[in-house]
C-alpha cells in the first residue's frame, strides 16, 4: 500500500498507542500548519484522548515531563512542534535526558521521543527554520532520527515509541509530508542505525538524510540523463547512530563523495561525514570530498533570499559535476 510521509507518522502514532498502554502523547500538533494532514490525527485523538495530554506553550516543561514520565515507566512522545522550539527545551533534552542513563550508572533509562518539525520549510525565517541534528549530534546519549521517506517516517516513529530504550529526537520535515512510499504489510524494517542505499551507482556517492534524500534522488536522475554520470544515493536515516560502514563501503565502490545536508556548513553533519572519509577512507577517494550545505547565515524570510541558501537538486548536481572534474 502506498502511504505519504504524513500518513506514515499518523499510522505509527495510532498503532503505537493501540499496541502499548504506556505510550503517551504530550501535545498532539504533529502536523504543524498543514490543515489537510491534521485530519489524519482525528481517529487517534478521539480514540486515545486519555493518553493525549493538553500542552500549553511550555516546551521546557513538556520535554522535562516527558523525560520524567519515561524514567517512571511510560513511553511518551513530546510534540516540540516547530523544530526551532527545541531550543526552549534544550536544558532538559541535552542536560537531563541524554545524561540520565549515564549519570545513574545504568540504573535508569529514559525512552522518551521528542518530535520536531524541523528544517527550512519556506517562509519560516530565522526563528522557525532550524535543523538541529548537527548540534544534537554533539550530545552522547541521544538517538537522532532523520527519516527522508514515508516508510521510514512510519517505521522509525514506531520503533522510537515501542522499542527504543533511549531518548530520541525525531526530526520530521513539513516539506516531506506529501512524499510517498510503498509500505509492504508485515515487512521488516531495516534496522535502526543502518543507512539505506536508495539508488546504486558507480561514479559518485551522494550522502543525504531527511529532506536532501529526495533532492539527491532527483539530482541522480538528472546526472544520469543529462550527464551520463551514475550516482549512488546513500540515505543515512539516522544521524545517531551514524552508519559509517555503509558510507565507506559506498565510497569504496564509487571513489567520490558529495554530501548533501541541510545543516549549516561549519561543524555540520556533512563536516562529520567528510572527517570520517578523511580519517578512514582517504585511500578510497579519487577526488576531494564536496559538501553541499546551507551557507553560514541565518535563514531569511524573502523567497529570493531563502532560495539562495537551500540545498536544491541543482546545487547537488553542481557539486557532483565538480567532483567529477567537469
Amino acid at each position: 500500500m502506498k502511504i505519504t510521509f504524513a500518513e506514515g507518522l499518523a499510522k505509527a502514532l495510532y498503532e503505537s498507542l493501540a499496541a502499548d498502554p504506556r505510550v503517551l502523547l504530550i501535545g498532539s500538533n504533529f502536523m504543524g500548519l498543514n490543515t489537510a494532514a491534521k485530519q489524519l490525527m482525528n481517529p487517534l485523538v478521539s480514540e486515545f484522548s486519555n493518553r493525549i495530554m493538553a500542552a500549553p506553550v511550555s516546551e521546557l516543561g513538556l520535554a522535562g515531563a516527558g523525560i520524567g514520565a519515561a524514567m517512571a515507566g511510560r513511553r511518551p512522545v513530546v510534540d516540540i512542534n516547530t523544530g526551532s522550539f527545541i531550543f526552549q527545551a534544550f536544558a532538559q533534552v541535552v542536560n537531563e535526558a541524554a545524561n540520565v542513563h549515564y549519570m545513574s550508572g545504568g540504573q535508569t533509562s529514559a525512552p522518551v521521543t521528542f518530535y520536531c518539525l524541523a528544517g527550512i520549510r519556506g517562509g519560516g525565517g530565522a526563528q522557525h527554520s532550524h535543523r538541529t541534528q548537527a548540534m544534537l549530534g554533539q550530545v552522547p546519549g541521544l538517538q537522532i532520527l532523520t527519516p527522508g521517506s514515508a516508510d521510514d517516517a512510519y517505521y522509525l516513529m514506531k520503533w522510537a515509541l515501542l522499542e527504543s530504550r533511549n531518548p530520541t529526537v525525531f526530526l520530521s520535515h513539513s516539506l516531506l509530508f506529501g512524499e510517498t512510499a510503498e509500505l509492504v504489510p508485515g515487512a521488516q524494517m531495516l534496522p535502526v542505525g543502518q543507512a539505506r542505499i536508495r539508488r546504486e551507482g558507480r561514479d559518485v556517492s551522494i550522502i543525504a538524510s531527511s529532506i536532501t534524500v529526495m533532492r539527491a534522488m532527483a539530482a541522480a536522475d538528472e546526472l544520469e540523463h543529462k550527464h551520463g554520470i551514475s550516482a549512488e544515493v546513500v540515505d543515512l536515516r539516522t544521524i545517531a547512530p551514524l552508519d559509517e560502514n555503509t558510507v565507506l563501503q559506498s565510497v569504496a565502490r564509487t571513489g567520490r563523495a558529495v554530501i548533501a545536508d541541510e545543516c549549516h556548513r561549519r561543524f555540520g553533519v556533512a563536516a562529520e561525514i567528510a572527517a570520517i572519509l578523511a580519517e578512514e577512507g582517504l585511500a578510497l577517494l579519487k577526488a576531494p570530498v564536496r559538501r553541499v550545505t546551507v551557507p553560514d547565515v541565518p535563514i531569511p524570510y524573502s523567497p529570493t533570499l531563502e532560495a539562495e541558501l537551500i540545498v536544491t537538486k541543482e546545487r547537488i548536481v553542481t557539486g557532483v559535476l565538480r567532483v567529477m572534474g567537469r
Binding site: 520524567g68 524514567m71 532538559q92 545513574s104 525512552p111 530504550r165 547512530p241
Partner: protein, 345 residues
C-alpha cells in the same frame, strides 16, 4: 530498604535525623582530607524535612532531589556506604563513580535521576507524577531550594502539574531564613523580589502553605497531611519549609564551625562558637527535637548517647567501605552511554 516505617515514630525520627547529621560530618571530613574533589552541598540543619517527607511515602512513590541530596537519600533508605563510595568516585558507589555527590540516585528507591541544575528537577518530577496518574497509583515528592523559583522551569512544571492535576508534592526548602522571620508569613530569598514565595504556586492554583523547618513535629504533621492530600486528591500541593542556614553553609566550601555536633549541646552546654550556639538554639531541628523529647520524657541522655553511638559507628563503617572501594577501571567511562536492548545497531 525504605526506612519510612521506623521514622514515623519520634525515636525513629530522631535516629534518622542523627544519621544524616553524622553522615554529613563525615562527608565534610573526607572533603577536607582531600578524599574527593569538586564542590558539594551539605544538609545539616534541614534533616527534619527529609525525614518527615520520606516518612509519608510508600515503596512505589518517586522522590526527586537536587545537588543537596544526601539527607533525602538517607531518609529514603539509601545505604550510607554506597553513597559515600559514590561521593568519592569509587566503583562501589550507586553509579559506579559516574555521578558523584551531585547526581546521587537509587532507582530501586524511586529516586530515578538527580539533576544538579537549579529548577531542572521540577519538570522531571512532574513527569513522574504524570506516570503515577497514568498507572493509577503512587505519588511524587519533589525537593528543591528557594533559588529554583528564580528559574523558568519551575513555572512551566507547576503549570503542567496544575493543568494536568498530577499527584505531586512540591517541597521548597528555603534555607536562607533569618531566624526572626522564620515563623512569620514572610519568605525572603537572596534575589527573588517577592514578599511571599508561596504566593507564586497559589497564582497557578497549586495550594500552598509554609512550615517551620526547625520544628520536627510541625513538619511531620504538615508533610504527612499534604502527602495524604496529594494521594487522595491526585492533585499537586506545595509547601515552603523555612530553615535557618547552618553557619557551616555560609562558606563556599562547607566547614564544621565549632566541630561535630555534641549531644551535650542539647543538655545545657554551650558551643564556644557564637554563631553556632545561636543557630543551635534557634534553628537546629536536631538540637531542638532532642531537647523536646528529653523534656517530654520520651528519651533520656543515656538513650540519646546510645543512639548517637550507633549512628557514628554506622557512618565510620561507611567511610571505611568508601575508602576501601577501588576506583572504577578506565574502560568504565564508555559504559552506560546508551541503554542496551531495543537499541539501535
Amino acid at each position: 530498604m525504605i526506612m519510612s516505617t521506623a521514622a514515623t515514630e519520634p525515636l525513629g525520627r530522631m535516629a534518622a535525623m542523627l544519621r544524616i547529621r553524622r553522615f554529613e560530618e563525615q562527608c565534610i571530613r573526607l572533603a577536607q582530607a582531600g578524599q574527593f574533589r569538586g564542590h558539594y552541598h551539605i544538609y545539616i540543619g534541614q534533616e527534619a524535612t527529609a525525614v518527615a517527607a520520606c516518612a509519608a511515602l510508600v515503596a512505589e512513590d518517586f522522590v526527586f532531589t537536587t545537588w543537596r541530596n544526601h539527607g533525602h537519600m538517607l531518609a529514603r533508605g539509601a545505604a550510607p556506604e554506597r553513597m559515600l563510595a559514590e561521593i568519592l568516585g569509587k566503583a562501589g558507589g550507586y553509579a559506579g563513580g559516574k555521578s558523584g555527590t551531585l547526581h546521587l540516585a537509587v532507582r530501586d528507591l524511586g529516586i530515578l535521576s538527580t539533576s544538579a541544575l537549579v529548577g531542572g528537577t521540577l519538570p522531571l518530577a512532574t513527569g513522574a507524577a504524570l506516570a503515577c496518574k497514568q498507572r493509577g497509583s503512587g505519588i511524587t515528592v519533589c525537593f528543591f531550594g528557594d533559588a529554583a523559583l528564580e528559574e523558568g522551569a519551575l513555572y512551566e512544571a507547576m503549570i503542567l502539574a496544575s493543568l494536568w492535576q498530577v499527584p505531586i508534592l512540591f517541597v521548597c526548602e528555603n534555607n536562607t531564613m533569618p531566624p526572626g522571620q522564620r515563623a512569620r508569613g514572610q519568605s525572603p530569598s537572596s534575589r527573588l523580589p517577592a514578599n511571599r514565595l508561596a504566593d507564586i504556586p497559589e497564582a497557578l492554583r497549586v495550594t500552598s502553605e509554609e512550615v517551620d523547618g526547625a520544628d520536627a513535629d510541625a513538619l511531620n504533621e504538615c508533610l504527612a497531611r499534604l502527602a495524604a492530600q496529594v494521594r487522595s486528591s491526585g492533585g499537586p500541593r506545595y509547601v515552603e519549609v523555612h530553615s535557618g542556614r547552618w553557619p557551616g553553609n555560609f562558606l563556599s566550601w562547607p566547614d564544621l564551625p565549632g566541630g561535630e555536633w555534641q549531644i551535650a549541646w542539647a543538655f545545657g552546654q554551650q558551643s564556644d562558637h557564637a554563631d553556632l550556639a545561636a543557630w543551635l538554639e534557634q534553628s537546629d531541628p536536631l538540637n531542638r527535637y532532642l531537647r523536646k523529647l528529653v523534656a517530654a520524657g520520651t528519651l533520656d541522655r543515656a538513650q540519646a548517647e546510645a543512639m548517637d553511638e550507633r549512628a557514628r559507628a554506622e557512618m565510620a563503617g561507611a567511610v571505611r567501605f568508601a575508602l576501601d572501594s577501588p576506583y572504577p577501571p578506565p574502560d568504565e567511562a564508555y559504559q552506560h552511554v546508551y541503554a542496551q536492548g531495543g537499541q539501535a545497531r
